[in-house]
């Protein structure tokens, strides 16, 4: 799609008149999905999709539209012309935009990461074969993901990653399951089998009857996957400069210097070590890292070009939603293999589920435990735990109650596929908590 995107963009640039400027964004993928339930195939499919977005600018006026590409040059050139004509026809009737800001540099970049991905036959044979005899449910997504940007001012960026993500759960019975994910760019049947076998081994911990506990405060350990869920709440207007400027951030007290997190909390938007493209929708190149929290104190925010123009802040490559694409929380000093021993007696939480703010201004979040969550006694797993609702504040969970972070952050590829596969990633350690509040 790379050649087609630049052909379409160049064609559109050739249609411009006078002082018109055009920004072109591309997003696409060619993905094989295999959805499974009970270790059998539920819905297998191939999806080819590509979307071209054109933003026509003249002076301070902007009009933009996106449309699906067929992948056939003649048809897509015709669509490009149609859309460009519509944008131009409407443009003069739209008001000027005082916060319009776009990159005027003619910067170029290209990142192409090839992979060795399975064919449809190989994928289905390997997954169904390795899962035989288990109650496995989940999805394999495999194929290239592409993003592109070009401007009539000469900028050209292309980002292509060929990767797979197998996101699955292995069920013991009822709602007792082990949750797993394996992502990468090189498919390896032996590694797949090893991982499913390892998950099968963990099922023995789920064989005992689930234990229920009374609501209250308990010592707890959040696995990297569970802590990752918690950190993504910061993407709901938390680290956004616009949300902070309008007093809506869930970490407003941290931003305003009224509260702090634990001194070991170092949070960064780490574009350099993520899978997301290093350019934004208006052509700016993203910094390799944006520090957000240092030593438990507010260190920075994600600023989109539009927010930067509105509030007089320096933009730092954030998209319009000003959310993290490459979360990185620095590891601590607790050896991961010592986590259970350090927990001693309390709750080991494998995953969290359905988080939302119960009190956004106080940074208070509620959610559920899910999948492999255990009652631990004397550093040993004693029994699986029936799901519990928790409700606690970020200032406690990442602040006063944070005892330690594990020493080896896990790399996690976001499994989201709304509209298209996510290229968001995290590097997150586990967290040992002195107390966590469970409510129901």
């Amino acid at each position: 799609m790379r050649d087609l995107f630049f052909e379409l963009a160049d064609h559109a640039f050739g249609q411009l008149a006078g002082s018109e400027v055009l920004l072109a964004n591309f997003s696409g993928e060619a993905t094989d999905f295999i959805r499974l339930n009970h270790a059998q195939v539920r819905q297998p499919m191939s999806v080819r999709q590509g979307e071209l977005s054109l933003a026509l600018i003249e002076g301070r006026r902007r009009n933009q539209a996106s449309f699906g590409l067929t992948g056939v040059a003649a048809a897509d050139l015709e669509r490009t012309d149609l859309v460009l004509r519509e944008l131009r026809r409407e443009l003069s009737s739209l008001p000027e935009d005082p916060y319009l800001l776009y990159c005027t540099d003619a910067a170029h970049s290209e990142r192409i990461e090839r992979g060795t991905l399975p064919s449809a036959e190989q994928a289905i044979d390997d997954v169904v074969g390795a899962a035989a005899g288990t109650d496995l449910v989940g999805i394999l997504a495999s194929g290239p993901m592409m993003r592109g940007f070009a401007s009539s001012l000469g900028a050209r960026h292309w980002h292509q990653v060929e990767a797979f993500l197998f996101d699955w759960s292995l069920y013991h019975s009822g709602d007792k399951a082990v949750k797993c994910a394996w992502s990468g760019s090189r498919w390896d049947r032996a590694e797949l089998s090893r991982r499913i076998e390892a998950a099968r081994g963990q099922l023995e911990h789920l064989a005992q009857p689930a234990r229920s506990i009374a609501p209250g405060e308990y010592r707890a350990y959040l696995s990297p996957a569970a802590l990752d869920e918690l950190l993504w709440m910061l993407n709901w207007g938390g680290v956004s400069a616009k949300a902070q400027q309008t007093k809506q951030s869930c970490i407003q007290r941290l931003v305003d210097g009224e509260a702090s997190l634990a001194p070991q909390v170092q949070l960064t938007e780490d574009t350099a070590r993520g899978l997301a493209p290093a350019f934004d929708e208006v052509g700016f190149t993203k910094p390799a890292q944006v520090p957000l929290v240092r030593d438990g104190r507010h260190a920075g925010s994600l600023v989109s070009p539009r927010t930067g123009a509105e509030y007089g802040l320096a933009a730092n490559g954030a998209g319009e939603d000003e959310s993290m694409r490459a979360v990185a929380l620095a590891g601590g000093t607790l050896a991961e293999e010592e986590a259970l021993a350090a927990l001693d007696t309390g709750i080991y939480i494998g995953n969290l589920h359905y988080l939302n703010f119960s009190d956004r201004a106080s940074g208070r979040v509620t959610g559920m435990t899910r999948f492999a969550t255990f009652w631990v006694e004397g550093g040993r797993i004693a029994a699986p735990l029936a799901v519990m609702r928790w409700d606690d504040s970020l200032y406690r969970l990442l602040g006063t109650e944070l005892e330690a972070l594990t020493d080896a952050p896990h790399w996690i590829l976001n499994s989201g596929t709304y509209g298209q596969r996510s290229v968001e990633t995290s590097r997150v350690p586990g967290a040992l908590l002195r107390r966590m509040t469970f409510t129901l």
């Binding site: 201004a361 559920m368 989201g416």
Partner: protein, 488 residues
């Protein structure tokens, strides 16, 4: 870029292979989002999406392939890919030896639009600007935004075996507005229609006119300031009266999702979750109090998810899912029902297997899921409450993966004391367990308390899908609920 249904159907049938089932679903959608924030127009967004998904059944294997290339070559690619997946799945699919029996699609549907949206984008900006400017009533109003989202969608479903294409055409209109007030360390958000587009219906300009959106700016800003000055919601067990813009969320999370048949069958266990409802509970389980009547109603013509047939082609009809509190049938269409009937042959479903777009296969959704009105006026519900809170407009939602333990929060609360509405309170929340909660339903509002709401963002499925669903509900009263407020 409208497609020619007849021509496309002919071309598809010409290249379709012989198969146990072969069909093509084409979706074309135009979406326009206009927004004014703090009296400045945001960038206007137009999206033109189109494409098709081929479904092929081979024995008990089913396969899909999706592309925007609807030329002969594109259709041939999709047919070959779908047939390949169906062949590969054969003998190792969840249909366990029984070929999925998919309906032969037929019929037509069009939104009952009275006044198609003909306002230019500049005219829509003017409308939003007036509401935005009306929000600027106090320096403590720190952010505000008015938006209008309109969509036009055409869908076609055809089988390779013949018959006229089944066509559906939809117009969706979604106005929204929210205001943020801040003072003395407290931030409060008040929205009109819900912060996440709760006022959404089929239709055109008439949706805006009947919705009350015009004039909502100042009113919403005033309510945001009222919340800013209001005390925190008290904690304790008390009665709650939930207005329709919170009832829609309560229905959605604690009735809709647990009744989805694919969750009950385990398909969603890795992502959205499972259900506390099991197949043996239909016809036997008392889901709520005898006052609870819940319908699946795709025939209510302004509601967001009305249609004539689902995306597997099954004709859609109104059905009771819960009657007099008794659970009767799940939200499951042809392919899920076929799997479930292996265990419970008498189980009946509804036509609600839907896809969010051309690039995702249909799965069980909730579509229009409504609580039927009862016999109480709002005044009677308030008068019957000695101590309680009236809550409006969902703000926060969380529920476990079996859809049991929930916790929901609202933007607006108003105390009820000795049968009278009293002071406004901020940050009202409540929590409970689904079946216990619905059994505590003590009064259901009359038809005049009903509002037709919905959401464009019901998420589930792997790969993920966000679909439009509708919820019409009266105000309802629940007894002895665990209520609480904010931290400070």
């Amino acid at each position: 870029m409208p497609f020619d249904a007849e021509t496309l159907a002919q071309r598809f049938r010409r290249v379709a292979p012989a198969a146990d089932h072969c069909s093509l679903r084409v979706v074309e959608e135009r979406s326009e989002t206009i927004s004014v924030r703090q009296d400045q127009a945001e960038p206007v967004r137009t999206s033109l999406d189109h494409g098709g998904m081929v479904t092929v059944v081979d024995g008990d294997g089913i396969g899909y392939a999706a592309t925007s290339d609807l030329s002969d070559a594109g259709l041939a690619w999709a047919l070959a890919q779908a047939a390949r997946w169906a062949r590969l799945a054969r003998g190792r699919s969840v249909f366990a030896g029984q070929p999925p029996q998919l309906p032969q699609p037929r019929g037509r549907y069009a939104s009952a639009t009275q006044r198609p949206m003909h306002w230019s984008k500049a005219e829509r900006i003017e409308l939003l600007m007036r509401e935005s400017q009306a929000c600027r009533i106090d320096p403590r109003i720190v952010d505000w935004q008015a938006s209008l989202w309109t969509l036009g969608t055409q869908q076609m479903l055809i089988g390779a075996d013949g018959g006229a294409p089944a066509l559906q055409s939809f117009d969706f209109t979604i106005p929204s507005l929210h205001v943020v007030a801040h003072g003395d360390g407290v931030t409060q958000t008040r929205s009109w229609g819900g912060r996440y587009n709760g006022y959404c219906q089929q239709g055109g300009i008439e949706v805006i006119e009947r919705s009350g959106f015009i004039g909502s700016g100042r009113r919403t800003a005033e309510e945001a300031l009222q919340l800013l000055a209001a005390p925190n919601c008290p904690s304790g067990r008390m009665d709650v009266v939930l207005m329709p813009d919170q009832m829609m969320l309560q229905i959605h999370e604690s009735i809709g999702h647990p009744l989805e048949l694919d969750r009950i069958l385990g398909d969603e266990r890795n992502y959205a979750g499972t259900s506390f409802v099991t197949l043996d509970m239909f016809g036997r389980f008392q889901y709520g109090s005898p006052l609870l009547n819940v319908t699946y109603d795709p025939t209510r013509n302004v509601e967001f998810a009305s249609f004539a047939f689902d995306d597997e082609g099954l004709p859609a009809e109104r059905s009771f899912l819960i009657k007099d509190g008794l659970l009767l049938r799940p939200l499951g269409g042809s392919s899920s029902l076929q799997r479930a009937q292996r265990r419970v042959p008498e189980l009946a479903g509804v036509a609600t297997t839907r896809a969010c777009a051309w690039n995702r296969p249909p799965i069980d959704r909730m579509s229009n899921l409504n609580v039927e009105p009862g016999e109480s006026s709002l005044q009677e519900m308030i008068a019957a409450t000695e101590c309680g809170v009236l809550m409006k407009t969902n703000r926060s939602w969380s529920i476990d993966d079996s859809r049991n333990k929930f916790q929901f929060g609202c933007e607006w609360g108003q105390m009820i004391r000795d049968g009278q509405l009293a002071e406004v309170v901020r940050d009202p929340n409540y929590r409970g367990v689904s079946r216990e909660f619905w059994r505590s339903l003590t009064m259901v509002g009359r038809p005049e308390t009903v509002e037709v709401m919905g959401t464009p963002y019901c998420g589930k499925g792997e790969p993920n899908q966000a679909v439009r669903v509708g919820h019409a509900s009266p105000a309802c009263r629940f007894s002895d609920i665990d209520v609480f407020g904010a931290e400070r």
